[in-house]
């Protein structure tokens, strides 16, 4: 399996290189993906809980906003 590619642009020299990601960078990518997935799951769970509450109350999101204004 090919390694992820990293592009680097140096503003001082104008040099641009593309290289394979190092083991440390690949490990960081896995951490970043896990963190992003966790944040997404948390946001999705909030939306689900909010929708469940609105359904239980029998009102729409707009009506909930009106209620709290």
């Amino acid at each position: 399996m090919s390694k992820p590619q990293i592009k680097e642009y140096n503003c001082e020299t104008g040099e641009e290189i593309i290289r394979d990601a190092s083991a440390a960078e690949i490990a960081q990518m896995a951490l970043d993906k896990a963190e992003a997935d966790a944040k997404k799951a948390e946001a999705d769970a909030k939306v689900t809980a909010k929708n469940a509450l609105l359904s239980k109350l029998g009102i729409t999101a707009e009506e909930a906003v009106l209620l709290l204004s």
Binding site: Q5, Y9, N10, C11, G14, Q28, D32, A36
Partner: protein, 287 residues
Amino acid sequence: MAKQTFTTGQVLTAAQMTSLQQTAMLGGAASAKTASYTLVAADAGTAISMSNASATTITVNTALFAAGDTVQITNLGAGVCTITAGTATVNTSASLALAQYESGTLDFTSTSAAIFIKGAGASAASGGMTLINTGGTTLTGSSVSISSIPATYKNLQLVIQNYRPATDTARVAMRINGDSTANRNAQLFTFTNDNAPFDDTNVNLTGDTDNGASNALIIVNLYDYANTTTWKIGDGFAATNNPTTPTNITYRSYKTFYNQTGAISSLTIYSTSGNFTSGTAYLYGVS
């Protein structure tokens, strides 16, 4: 005209007198350079202009100049021109980097040392934006890093056009100075917050994005990025194609904070999942 030693009884030509007059009146044509250049002894007392769309250097070596010699350097090109100490010592109270239309004078204090006195930029550069990564940088692979950002501007603005991920619902994130340490970043979506923790390792630039369309526009501003005494602040907003209904937008607007005091010298833009399919990043220096 270049510095020279006149001899007793020497007859000056009209051209020499005109050149001397121009030098005395701080006028005359500059010696035009279009590529990185190493100063030579004949440059003493002259003006040099640099013009190149990419970054260049002017190198200063020892044993070429005497105390009191001066060399004026003006950068006409879009690429930053940096005064570089070769074998000589070059000190300055400002920056050795000249952005477009900036100018400065090397004032030699000995044969091996000079002070670089940077003047104000021309009015055309004031308040303007300079594209730092010439031509923009195409987003490929899974991560793109823009490094050696010159510290010569007030603010930075990063613009990413037509971003499209290879993986549906992926996002773009940004890392400052390659720093992935925990609790260095905070990102807020509210107008005010009196007690916000630094709880992130990065800045999320977008929400979930479709992998089949590429109408995205992402803009991030980083303010006073080169100072070395304060935390860094920025803001941004982004419109990307919604992954469920690509004709709708996924919209993000935020303030971002980084709790380190070092100057920002590199930005890493990366996909939270998979590779980039398209996109171009433009990094501007705001004067």
